[in-house]
Amino acid sequence: MDYLVQLFQSLTVQALAPSTAAFAIAAIGLNVHFGFAGLLNIGQAAFLLLGAYGFAISIDRGLPLFAAVLVALLCALLFAFILGLPTLKLRGDYLAIVTISAAEIIRMVGRSSILTDLTGGSNGITGNTYNGPFQALSPLPDGSTQILWFDYDNNGVNGWWIRIVGWGLVGVFLLLIWALARSPWGRLLKGIREDEDAVRSLGKNVYSYKLQALVLGGLIGAVAGIIYVLPSSVQPDGLGRSTTFFIYTALLLGGAATVFGPVLGAILFFVMRLLIQSLAQSFIPDSIMSTQQTVQFSYVLVGVALMCLIIFRPQGILGNKKELSFSV
């Protein structure tokens, strides 16, 4: 019994962790690309990484917090334009190819030793060089607070303050997407996802709308990057291809083209992985599977879960079967 209670508690702690909030935000951004506009962006992690670099480096160079956020957003904006301007006039596949390679380029450049002064090379940037101003902004009194079994410092690097801001931002973006999804703008994006020539024949500037979607999802991704690195550090290799695929997993799990799906998916993704890992650790003897291996095992099972999902419920948990499936 004790074991189950502890397991449940650790799962809920993981569900509300800042990294889960960051993933949820990243998936909300990717949903604008993939779910609504049908843009196959396979480099969402690069938007996170650029946001993180822009933010961390700006603060390190003495810019105030809001200016640093602005720099992070500008980096993502520029990246979206560089990716989108040449490819969005072409067939969809081109964007996919360009995003996947551009994301790798960003990561490789970030970790290269030439830029060590700026990006810290492959070691990255440690959190204490940039999280000061964010901590200073907290209105919470010092000390720690316990609610149920959630017990954190009010203002610590990984405490209540970052959780409140992270999940608050999730709420803000949910509201924004909800408003957009029901609007004529959202309708146009969905139309483009279905058949862009049809939308063009109705007198709409498809190129401009695709670019708008790419930029919006990218900016949201940059914010996710900031939230992701605030309680930890900027690690280029921690925001690589696999991160993009995890974000996709979260999105598809919850349901693309729904408003709340990306958030539900992100939470489920982390909780499921931790659950598999914990169970494997407790019940499979070390001689068969070491602790290190249980982590990998959890990824394998998440992959299997994703396959089952695509086969049995392609629209995701919240999706409408008729509205969104992978076929077509």
Binding site: L180, S183, P184, D197, S201, L202, K322
Partner: protein, 339 residues
């Protein structure tokens, strides 16, 4: 909404069809003839795919306020011609940096040169087309499909979209208009279904209704009747004619000769990329060039003559065919003999 067309308000539009037909009766019945009041004038449009010339139109005009049929055998280049005119494809003869003079492609719609205009702008200027292979937006509802066709919805701007009160009023207007059109096309009961669940014919209807949401000055229909339930074609023909009566010029591609004879004021015939004949429906069918290019020797028994084929006429036909076969065998024989 300068391009919109409310009944009886466009100067120069022939709302009276009898008048229009009288005017067209005076037009020269030859390929590329000039019309009294052309809404669309096309010059030197050439499109090649590899070595094959799909479209080579020297000059053609479309009369404002008329229902013009564009007919021709499969592969004549009708769809390609539509794609070129509406900005979905680019002619090989398009003006280049070094050559923008005579002989380059040029077409004018409603007084505006359209040569280098993108597909969206073409549609915005009032020339809206439908597709031979329907493009219903499957995972949007029928109503959402319709609303997408409307113009001047401020909520299609990102920043306006966030604040619903800014676009709510316009949305109500276009919803009412969409409901009207859907009722006309017998799709109103389906308005909340996904477009992907419609039958092929219903999708055709939806695509046409959607195109009408923007009150185009001219609508271009690529095989609007293909796949539509015969019970519905009659009423659809009625809709197309009332469209014309209300101020929309119609240019359509069709294979169904009943339909062509029944509703068109003017027929343009294409074969192998060229315009080979033009004229009113009842006379153009007798044109030798048309018969050769398209209709075949038995056209008068198969071209929407309202008389049904009787057993007698079928027998007659069969006899004719046999005769021809015999003749061909004979000539082949002769040729072999010569060789």
């Amino acid at each position: 909404m300068s391009e919109t067309t409310a009944t009886g308000t466009q100067p120069g539009y022939d709302y009276d069809r009898v008048e229009l037909r009288k005017k067209l009766a005076t037009v020269d019945k030859a390929p590329g003839s000039s019309k009294p009041d052309s809404i669309l004038t096309v010059d030197n449009v050439v499109r090649r795919f590899g070595g094959m010339t799909a479209v080579d139109v020297q000059h053609v005009e479309v009369q404002r306020g008329a229902i013009t049929a564009l007919i021709g055998p499969n592969g004549a280049g009708k769809t390609t011609f539509f794609n070129l005119l509406t900005g979905f494809d680019k002619p090989n003869s398009a003006p280049t940096l070094t050559n923008r003079g005579a002989g380059t492609a040029r077409w004018v719609f409603n007084g505006r040169a359209m040569g280098a205009v993108g597909a969206a702008k073409v549609a915005k200027s009032g020339m809206v087309r439908t597709f031979q292979l329907t493009k219903a937006l499957s995972r949007l509802t029928v109503m959402q499909n319709m609303l997408l066709g409307a113009r001047d919805q401020p909520g299609e701007n990102f920043f306006v979209a966030i604040v619903k009160p800014l676009w709510k009023a316009r949305e109500a207007e276009i919803e009412a208009k969409a409901a009207d059109l859907l009722k006309r096309f017998k799709l109103y009961e389906k308005k909340d279904d996904y477009a992907g669940s419609l039958s092929g014919g219903q999708r055709k209807l939806l695509e046409m209704a959607r195109a009408l949401m923007s009150d185009p000055a001219m609508i271009m229909l690529d095989e609007p009747m293909a796949g539509v339930n015969p019970a519905l074609t009659q009423s659809l023909l009625g809709h197309i004619q009332s469209l014309r009566d209300e101020g929309t010029t119609v240019l359509f591609v069709e294979h169904d000769m009943h339909m062509v004879r029944h509703i068109s004021d003017w027929v343009i015939v294409m074969a192998e990329g060229r315009i080979v004949a033009e004229g009113p429906a009842d006379t153009v069918m007798d044109d030798q060039a048309v018969i050769d290019a398209y209709l075949g020797a038995h056209h008068d028994t198969d071209l929407g003559d309202d008389s049904l084929l009787t057993d007698e006429s079928i027998e007659e036909l069969e006899a004719e065919v046999k005769e021809e076969d015999a003749a061909r065998v004979e000539t082949e024989h002769n040729e072999e003999g010569k060789a």
